[in-house]
Symmetry: C2
Subunit: 654 residues, 2 copies
């Protein structure tokens, strides 16, 4: 009789079943030491030789018997007969007797009889003899055999990740090869009729395969070797064949997709033909519930959900620790950091939630921002995710400012320059010039002008690009002050021509915002919080006033008002490919995509910069370039953007 | 006329000459995305497609016109005619008209006419129709085309190091290949008549080549590809040939050795045949003074000193930044940490010193310990070095407790378990059992019992192994209290049999310490601060008393008293290979090396553990194993060590 695991189990129970049926083992391989950098050493390594292997001169000079120099003084030198010359790498053919010396080079082997080296500076050559002006003590300027490493000493401990330093010591001890842990082979199978390989033409209703590639990369990051088995269709025979092939070739098998409903039963049947077969089918975890864990052919098989974020969550929580164990990589608790939650979060009771977050370093430590849309199958959700917060089964709410542990996907490398705010091509041009000058890592998060101001306030951004028009007609300064930003300055940026972007030749004859109400016109909007959105809404409010109508009424009549593009470019592309007839954006992108442009106004695109970041190197270079002739010229390449007399001007806000 | 750069220049001047004659350029190569993990992306990547590429159902259910469901209620369902079934990956062949619905799977393409999905849970099938019990709003359970990534959006910025996340997003956008920076090819040449390749037999006066291997590894760590050119003898023609070959094949050439005195002139002549040739010959830097920087065949050539620490210092300060720039790796300031200097340090005026330090995390941040012997050519010096402190030319002294910036060689990974103190094979056995249970990273520094106690006091060690005999005849407790250690407990360990280790058959007929005074007997001592050294000196003081002589007088008569082995094993090996006739050590190693053993006494080897580390996982496992039957058995394999009734007993010290 076969057991059936159809009930949902907790994540702890699922993991415990896995380890009770599978004992991870490590492979060992032998590599030349120069190929072993970054690998984990599998055995304690002891030196077989002394280092240095002989008593060695550490200075250029004369090998002597120290006793012979004891009487030497500056004005009463001792005279010694030079009986030979000893070079590095050549065995001395002399023995030093009383009253004798041999010329010796740094690194050369000490001759028998000698026990010290007089530096050449304290001697004078006199025919076949030297005069010594200073006494040396026994052992002076000599490195004794084995004083660096003695034969038998432990030089590298098993489990160490090899750097150039351990490799150098092994070389010094004469080791040519080293035993390191082998990389576990992980076969990766993507299942689903809708999948297409990247690079191929995408037919209707198909999407590109993400999981094969992101999981392969995650396998490599966790010390494994990824073997891509490709895409398999939802047909039992086909799936069975590829799973069996993977089980022959690899140490671990990962499938993704086809876990839910009927498709999941197929995978269940395939895996449960082995003993012990399926150990868990359905885990009380969010995201990732419909996962399968099985042991087939003595190897662990993981059936991950198809959604990228779900698949990677199960990978990180269940697969990665096993993989690292098999690869001999120590459980690195260093990958967890403490952070404060930036917003309140609700969680489902009874399921352990792995909440994806973006981590930003502020003035008072790290802040964790939950990444929205993570569970909907969005790939950008995990692209901007630094790690996750584990929310236990019995916790339903985490408060704002609550301290949480964030488990990082990769090591957190704070960018040299953190720019959060409005998106502008001018910023991209500026960053290009920065990169030409020096390599900086930059993180640019397009959060809109308002998002940028908040990020500056919380200390998360170095610089925020902003173009917020106040009702007084003044850009940025009044609204920034209203947000209560302190300890920051406003650096005037450049001018951007904003307007309506319409198709080439303006086929719909759009003249202004009034045309957005027409039934034959589809609009594309910008995201809330963006300066362009605020500008758009100001024009629409004006329109509502003109019409004597309510703002909400007006916008509900606009087809596409609810569709939010995140960047100017996205607006232009939507218009270019006919998805929308009109959007608000800068002239730059209209020209770039060969579209027509109806100017509305010139806006001031400025930079809000925290004062405590003004001395950061990357911020310094940023400001230098902003004010440079070079940048002014570069902007000329971009239609609709231009520097002006206020560019680079610093406005104090306090 | 040729310029001659024989004068010593500052490091800043040397670097400035390098960059004024050489503009680093980056190569670009195209890789399949799954091979690009860890590489640096060379160009901004924009999506060519929308993600998802079509409006997509995010739930299993029925595709409907939302308007048709507005009237639906729990007790008054709306009936819709099912006109088709839409699977993921297949283009819908139906259009939804008023009053119609189509069964749809998660991930499937929405049919024309439909604008929402009713989840299957809120419907009931009735023949060819369904009843809908809840209204849906337009867009509900639908992910619109481009809402994840819009065509034209910037998805990965140039300069980003690719992780599984960026790779997943690129796959989603259909990208098969990615442009990454190529790895600069670095040719490495070791020069010197004394060098032998690791793995080969070491002839008299020869040493193994260290620099080829440690520099090759450091090149890889800094994003380059290392090409080992092998060892070349100190002959001008041979050197010229290999340098020319390297200049043809590689982007950067590194030589090491042969920089000083006459040999350096040879390298100077070889490199100065090119234009501009040698830019600097001799840099005011410690260690590393006799370095050469040149441009030959349009490529940078670095002549590094032969001593491993000197070579690596120049590499880290001059070569690595250039290499990273050419590899497109951002200057990672994250590699610098603040630490307090553990001891006072004097530095040479007029030379910039790069002081090698070992960094340890204490309770009040990091402490930096200067690594002794670094400039003498010792390889262990750099093996235990975490990084260095830059001491400017005009600074002659850094005080104890002074805050310094430590530039780390590699990322600092605090070990899971830090053991500093006396060396014992029993500890190695215990660590072996720990590793069988779980992977921990352990750092064991053999600093002797006293060094261990001091490290516990400063919070640098979790555990210190100690066996210090007080004059009262009690082990450990009295002396630890004398050192004023607080907030720590003493955990009783095991018994070790200490005695005199002599050659097999005791050919010199040694009976006790009195024999050490004999002219025909060579002793090997242990390092100061070790428990064994203290024991040795206690016996020798007793001997002095017996003889009515002074202690200093007695030890000056012992041949080898000044030679300090760092471990028990080293003592045994010295006796085994005839370098010494007798040493003090534990029975274990005497038996291991087939030597004779004259018992002196059983000593108590205990563990001093900081209280604030008792809750660390690795410490918990350590104590668990110490008290286990498993460990008692394992120790039986080791002659001379045994657990006893006090093993695992906790002694409070406060």
């Amino acid at each position: 009789m076969r057991k059936v695991f159809r009930e949902i189990v907790t994540i702890d129970e699922a993991i415990s079943r896995l380890y009770s049926h599978f004992k991870p083992e490590r492979k060992v391989e032998h590599l030349p030491i120069q190929k072993a950098v970054g690998r984990i050493i599998a055995e304690d390594v002891y030196s077989q030789t002394d280092v240095p292997p002989f008593d060695r001169a550490t200075m250029d000079g004369y090998a002597v018997r120290a006793e012979d120099t004891f009487e030497a003084e500056e004005d009463n030198p001792v005279s010694l007969r030079v009986v030979g010359t000893i070079e590095a790498g050549i065995k001395p053919d002399v023995e030093i007797k009383e009253g004798e010396a041999a010329e010796i080079a740094t690194g050369a082997m000490m001759p028998a009889g000698a026990n010290a080296v007089v530096m050449v500076e304290y001697t004078r050559k006199r025919g076949d003899s030297i005069e010594v002006f200073r006494p040396v003590s026994p052992g002076e300027n000599v490195m004794f055999a084995g004083s660096d490493v003695m034969a038998g000493e432990l030089i590298v401990r098993a489990g160490t990740r090899l750097t150039h330093r351990e490799i150098g010591v092994m070389a010094a001890c004469g080791l040519k090869e080293v035993a390191v842990y082998g990389k576990p082979k992980v076969a990766i199978i993507s299942t689903g009729n809708e999948l297409t390989n990247p690079g191929e033409n995408l037919e209707d209703a198909k999407i590109y395969d993400v999981n094969s590639y992101s999981i392969a990369a995650a396998v490599v990051e966790n010390g494994g070797e990824a073997v891509l088995m490709g895409i398999v269709r939802d047909r039992e025979e086909e799936m069975r064949e590829i799973v069996e092939k993977a089980l022959r070739e690899a140490d671990i098998v990962i499938t993704s997709g086809s876990t839910s409903a009927g498709a999941g039963d197929v995978m269940y049947r395939i895996l449960d033909r082995w003993e012990p077969g399926v150990l868990a089918h359905g885990i009380a975890i969010k995201p990732g519930k419909p996962a399968i864990i099985a042991i087939a052919n003595g190897k662990p098989v993981f059936g991950l959900p198809g959604y990228p974020t779900s698949a990677l969550t199960i990978f990180e929580v269940v697969v990665a620790p096993l993989l690292r164990e098999m690869a001999g990589i120590a459980d690195n608790s260093g990958k967890t950091i403490r952070a404060r939650l930036a917003v309140k979060v609700f969680s489902a009771e009874g399921r352990r939630e792995y909440l994806p977050v973006n981590v930003v370093r502020g003035s008072a430590g790290y802040s964790a921002y939950p990444v929205s849309g993570s569970y909907s199958g969005a790939v950008t959700a995990f692209a901007f995710t630094d790690g996750f917060v584990e929310v236990p089964e019995n916790v339903v709410m985490l408060d704002e400012e609550e301290e949480v542990d964030v488990r990082l996907y990769s090591e957190l490398k704070p960018a040299d320059l953190m720019i959060i705010g409005s998106h502008c091509i001018g910023v991209e041009k500026l960053l290009e010039l920065m990169r030409e000058r020096q390599t900086f890592t930059t993180k640019v998060i397009n959060a809109g002008s308002t998002g940028g101001i908040m990020a500056i306030k919380r200390g998360e951004a170095d610089i925020a690009g902003t173009h917020l028009l106040d009702e007084s007609g003044v850009y940025n300064e009044p609204l920034i002050k209203k947000y209560g930003v302190r300890n920051a300055v406003l650096v005037k940026g450049y001018l951007r021509e904003q307007g309506l972007i319409v198709a080439k030749g303006n086929p719909k004859g759009i003249k202004g915002f009034g045309d957005l109400l027409r039934n034959d016109v589809t609009f594309i909007n910008r995201n809330r919080g963006s300066g362009t959105r605020i500008l758009t809404d100001m024009y629409l409010k004006e329109l509502a006033r003109e019409k004597g109508a309510d703002f909400v009424e007006i916008v509900s009549e606009i087809d596409g008002y609810a569709v939010e593009a995140k960047t100017h470019t996205s607006v232009a592309i939507a218009v270019a490919c006919g998805k929308a007839d009109v959007g608000v954006g800068i002239k730059t992108v209209a020209v770039q995509y060969g579209l027509d442009f109806i100017p509305l106004r010139s806006e001031e695109y400025d930079f809000l910069i925290r004062k405590d970041r003004l001395n950061k190197k990357a911020v310094g270079v940023f400001l230098e370039i902003l004010k440079s002739e070079e940048f002014a010229e570069k902007l000329q390449e971009v239609e609709g953007l231009k520097v002006y007399d206020r560019t680079g001007e610093i406005v104090e806000l306090d």
